[in-house]
Symmetry: D2
């Protein structure tokens, strides 16, 4: 992985984690939480793996492609769930997830 690609991936992972955690938090404040439970679950899964990969890359893990492949899959699942909901935080989260899934696939 080139140094520039590396920096960009770290940024993308961070943004995805932040979007997922914001969505997690915002979903729990919605009037109809009942409809958001799958979103809440996947937001946590996605934030956690992005956070994990962010650190793993920064320590020079030799398993970046394997981890990025899993991360891409989780980002996609989270993005697919989020895009079903009209809330602004869900739509923004979906966008961040799909962008991150692409970035992860490029290094996987």
């Amino acid at each position: 992985m080139l140094h520039e690609q590396h920096q960009q991936l770290l940024q993308t992972l961070h943004e995805c984690m932040a979007a997922c955690n914001h969505c997690f938090d915002a979903c729990l404040k919605e009037d109809h939480v009942q409809m958001m439970t799958e979103c809440i679950r996947l937001d946590r899964e996605c934030a956690d793996i992005c956070n994990y990969l962010e650190q793993a890359i920064s320590r020079g893990t030799p398993f970046i492609s394997e981890l990025a492949a899993v991360c891409a899959k989780i980002c996609e699942a989270c993005g697919n769930e989020c895009k079903k909901h009209d809330h602004d935080h869900c739509q923004k989260c979906a966008e961040a997830c799909f962008k991150c899934a692409e970035a992860c696939k490029n290094v996987a």
Copy 2:
């Protein structure tokens, strides 16, 4: 910290993490999720710090007392929220949290 105390704390932290994550999962399946949002939030906070401390202890962190003090505080907050709810998973989680808070205070 004596070796035996160490082993027992690792076990208690693991049980608390498992109880919090089970409660997180079960709360999201309840009919009245709306009433469980604070519980869901704190379950995640508590599971994460217990998981973190479990690993930190097992690598011989020099910061065990500082981390255990924070962990005790988070366990207590989660236990106090969980005990408000009648669900079996909440009551069991509260019990695990209070037990873990005590164990953490003993090494803090």
Copy 3:
């Protein structure tokens, strides 16, 4: 995954994490650290992914098979490095890693 298999995997992951962290710590105390640097690196990688998967399983992650596949790969790499070294902590760590790699492959 059956409940019993689940409990056993959690135990195996915990033991692998503990063995890797013990090996990490012990390697840093060896007279010839220079020869242990790859072991130190992989111990950290392996402890981290086992710790991650332990929590992910306990919260009912829908991505257990994908995460377990990556974990198996990292456990194998760590076990292969550890078994090259005669230190007791390395040999024990290799054993824990290979056992964990098998357990992960069974759910992957």
Copy 4:
């Protein structure tokens, strides 16, 4: 915490994690690893807690001040160790650690 302060802390935590992980990696490649073992240990401790706090803040944890107080302590310990060594990665890591310790104290 004001939104701007929040964004800046996230950035500072990320930079400290990156510096610690870079130092961890670089120390393991040094000719005299034997002299770097305490640095390697503390780099891992510090990277982990910064990474943890980064995510905890982004999900709106109610325990930011308690976690930031521990993080400040770990950053300081890591900075104090790193500044003893002349390697460029150690000096830069010390700088990142002290900056992060200050930022954490401001929210603790």
